[in-house]
Amino acid sequence: MTFKIRIIPCLDVKDGRVVKGVQFVDLIDAGDPVEAAKAYDAAGADELTFLDITASSDDRRTMFDVVTRTAEACFMPLTVGGGVRTVEDIRALLQSGADKVSINTAAVNDRAFVGRAADKFGDQCIVVAIDAKKVSGEGEADRWEIFTHGGRKPTGIDAVAYAREVVALGAGEILLTSMDRDGTKSGFDLKLTRAIADSVPVPVIASGGVGTLDHFVEGVRDGGATGVLAASVFHFGTFTIGEVKRHMQTAGLPVRMDGIAV
């Protein structure tokens, strides 16, 4: 394999502060997303994802400021998602310093938006975030559906068919979150990840459920993901980026070790 698996910490940001909590050693202000980003940059993270969970448009300006200040301090790739609804939202985020934007609900509501965004900014910059939940019962063939509103609202849309559709429209990457596993620390939904990864030609990032170092390996080896995203295990210092990468390397997966003590 000539590519390197990406290890991606995700920061949920509300009103300009990291929520879910971040506990780093030597961090002056663990709630400041820019300070957290700097710590991950220094630790050897391959990308950073900011998820803006703010509702009002006033607070959205705060998010642009967070992205701007992060891009001034961290010379690494930055994906920003949450509330992205228009081509103008995307332009503003890119101008602030984001490299990719992640579209979730707006793509579910209006599939054509993905195409408009990709035509304007290129496929490589458009990530479609898919929140999926298993809906098939015991003994039935596996089936997952798209859920919106943080996993509360079912849409009846088949997750695999939806992934194919948004990629055909121009999504350059899928950020796949298992709503069943999110926050459980029981590992990625590997069947879901594999089903999506095998259905689309673009990179799939596995998200939701990491609790052990082996879970990272499984997401790639068994799930077919080329990137793995996690929040709390990094924020609370359960694992460092370096520990995850060394573990993956030991398991025979290609990772970038620049700046990480071997």
Partner: protein, 216 residues
Amino acid sequence: MSVAIVDYGSGNLHSAQKAFERMARERGLNAPVLVTADPDVVRKADRIVLPGVGAFADCKRGLVGVPGMVEAMTEAVRGRGRPFLGICVGMQLMAGRGLEKETSAGLGWVPGDIDLIRPADPALKIPHMGWNTLDVTRDHPVLAGIPTGPKGLHAYFVHSYHLTATAADVVLAEAAYGTRVTAMIARDTMVGTQFHPEKSQTIGLSLIGNFLEWRP
């Protein structure tokens, strides 16, 4: 010495500006970094940077849409040999043609087409997204002191298209991704990087510093 980053409605201008400012400071250079859509500023600049994020044709339309900009860039870079750095689509625009979504003409500063990456291994995902090492074909001042090759540092790529069908002496570095992906080009006083130096941590900042100090 002044650095002009061309603003044509595309690209992560802010990130690029901050990376150049940081490296000018670190290398002790008095080099104001201007993000500008003014052709006169570009014409007078000592270094010109063309960033780019997006689809080739859309970026080209944006660049042509700034009155006098292509002429100013051509005069400064091709006419007077001002050092030039094209980044990602900014590098791609140096080519003859882009084939992304529609066929459109580039600046024609280097021969070749911007065509889809076609890895021999169908399991490899497109876009080529993530970190890769550089296989360098020859020495160049902008690469001074940078560890390259399979054991070298990684650069950050995010693209589906790359330069093909060009002259062999144009290619400065390649990345292996199931095929040879054009990672850097160089000719005369021009350099282009398919990866994003402003997003490539150590390797990218070193390259930017070297570009600022380059005296071709």
